[in-house]
């Protein structure tokens, strides 16, 4: 019997994602890929799938899925409220715990809890196409699997290599952050000493106008004393640009590859997964850090992730 997910409700921004695509910035194609990499790797580890396989990423309200096919395991990672609806009963699901579902069962991803992104992985393979080595959907550029579109109501996704395996549980809690550590940007000196002080001492609020491309922040004006524009140049994930109005905007995974606002700072790699999980309304502060310290913090973060994965082998 062939197996598939029937998407009854697509959710707000539900896409297939994996590690993203490299070596395409120069033609204007962003990295994409999962927003929260640790939760992605943990999801695949919990269902015993290859660690780099495609998963379903959702934001805020997730999908409602009816499963058709042979027994399969799935898991949800992040901080997510969801239900598993079986013929005879309905249970509240726990994140980081794999479940076996069978023909006719439904997964209702109600919402993420005080966070933005969650991940759904399965002990099987979604039958989807890859573009430039990645399934990652970039809805703004119509790139990736599913014709570059988010998952739609009533669509069906075929699943291959279906099997079920032993239940796995990981004892893990996503820690919340209020401080995001940054390295000074290449245009740091465009800002007045007052502006720099505001950036590192005042609180900013995540705006509603945030998505996979970027996170806009609201707060006190960051005074620019040189120029509110620079010659357009490359961007990377985590760059904090300050717009002409004096507000910071942080580049996220689907960011435009070139930008013309001054760069005041760059979020360190170790804090990226935590940053993207801050929902609109969250308060955050920036803390300055040196390069060598940032490199060490990333090493520690990577070791932590690898240790969590090893527990699941």
């Amino acid at each position: 019997m062939s197996s598939f997910f029937e998407i009854i409700r697509g959710g707000i921004n539900t896409t297939f994602q994996d590690n993203g695509r490299n070596n395409l910035y120069h033609i204007g194609i962003p990295f994409s890929g999962v927003m929260d990499k640790r939760n992605y790797l943990l999801a695949n580890s919990l269902v015993g799938s290859g660690i780099n396989k495609p998963v379903i990423e959702f934001a805020y309200q997730g999908p409602l899925i009816r499963y058709k096919g042979n027994k399969i395991n799935f898991v949800i990672t992040g901080d997510v409220i969801f239900k598993i609806k079986k013929k005879e009963n309905e249970i509240d699901g726990n994140c980081y715990e794999s479940y076996t579902i069978e023909d006719g069962d439904q997964i209702d991803v109600i919402s993420t809890n005080k966070s933005v992104y969650g991940y759904l992985a399965i002990s099987g393979e979604f039958d989807i196409n890859f573009q430039w080595g990645s399934c990652s959907i970039n809805t703004k550029a119509y790139i990736g699997s599913n014709k570059g579109k988010k998952l739609q109501n009533n669509q069906k996704i075929k699943i291959l290599n279906v099997h079920s395996n032993q239940k796995k549980i990981l004892n893990y809690i996503n820690t919340k952050v209020e401080k995001i550590r940054v390295i000074k940007g290449t245009n740091f000196n465009y800002f007045s000493s007052k502006g720099k002080k505001v950036f590192f001492e005042k609180e900013f609020t995540v705006s509603k106008l945030s998505d996979r491309m970027g996170m806009r922040l609201e707060g006190p004006n960051i005074e620019n004393v040189v120029d509110t524009n620079i010659r357009s140049e490359g961007l990377i994930k985590g760059v904090i640009q300050v717009t002409a109005e004096g507000n910071p905007i942080i580049m996220l995974s689907d960011h435009g590859t070139i930008g013309g606002y001054p760069k005041i700072g760059v979020v360190i790699s170790a804090d990226y997964d935590k940053l993207v999980q801050l929902p609109p309304g969250s308060k955050l502060k920036f803390q300055e850090i040196e390069l060598t310290e940032a490199e060490n913090l990333f090493k520690i973060y990577e070791i932590e992730t690898q240790n969590l994965i090893l527990q699941l082998r």
């Binding site: 120069h26 573009q131 703004k140 985590g238 435009g256 070139i258 390069l291």
Partner: protein, 224 residues
């Protein structure tokens, strides 16, 4: 030559070739870019050349700033001659349906409509870089009499194929996107084709582009 290399965060190199925008400096940026790309160095995951900067981003699990900096500093860019650039003609229709900002251009440039088109078409433009959105070329330089600032309030949606002007540059919106450039016309030509895996961009850095004015009829029938 590179004037300075600094770190952009903990996972990228920021190579600064100066502040000037010229074909000469941009050609050096492109030579560094092409040499690095050809070398396919493990750990380097993206290269972003622009007018006078090159950003080299890397996987922090494999390499680090110091390592990549050394690689770039020791790069021999004399190895390959700069590639022969393509010449590409882009058909553009300037019917009122497409020339969205012609009135603004007339006013800002103090030129009449015919003169705006005359100054724009038939000239050779150099592609400095591609990006922002997939495949968008940044072309220059426009004549001095043709230079205007971007719109005070950017459009939420610029139609696909729109040809825009800002300062000394022209660009082409490869698909519908927000944008603040002054729209002079629209091309029916597919500038970015994601089904072409190896070469999705029609225009690459270093190419020479000319624009040719076409009628509304030709625009309509172009892809038939």
């Amino acid at each position: 030559m590179i004037k300075n290399i600094s770190n952009l965060g903990d996972a990228a190199l920021y190579c600064d070739f100066g502040d000037e925008v010229s074909r000469e400096i941009n050609s050096t940026v492109i030579r560094y870019f092409k040499n690095l790309k050809k070398k396919n160095i493990p750990g380097i995951i993206n290269l972003t050349p622009s007018y006078n900067k090159l950003i080299v981003s890397f996987d922090l699990r494999e390499v680090s700033f110091i390592k990549v900096k050394k690689i770039v500093e020791n790069l021999d860019i004399s190895e390959i001659p700069s590639e022969i650039s393509k010449k590409i003609e882009i058909p553009v229709c300037c019917n009122d349906l497409f020339s969205l900002d012609i009135k603004r251009l007339e006013k800002k440039l103090s030129l009449n409509r015919e003169k705006v088109y005359e100054n724009f078409f038939g000239k050779e433009y150099f592609c400095y870089m591609t990006g922002f959105i997939a495949g968008m070329p940044f072309l220059g330089d426009l004549e001095k009499s043709m230079r205007v600032n971007r719109l005070e309030t950017p459009r939420v949606k610029v139609p696909k194929g729109s040809v825009g002007l800002t300062e000394q540059f022209a660009n082409i919106y490869t698909f519908e996107s927000p944008g603040g450039w002054n729209i002079i016309g629209n091309t029916p030509l597919e500038i970015f084709d994601s089904s072409k895996i190896d070469d999705p961009n029609l225009i690459s850095p270093g190419d020479i582009v000319t624009f040719k004015q076409i009628s509304l009829e030709d625009h309509k029938n172009y892809n038939e």
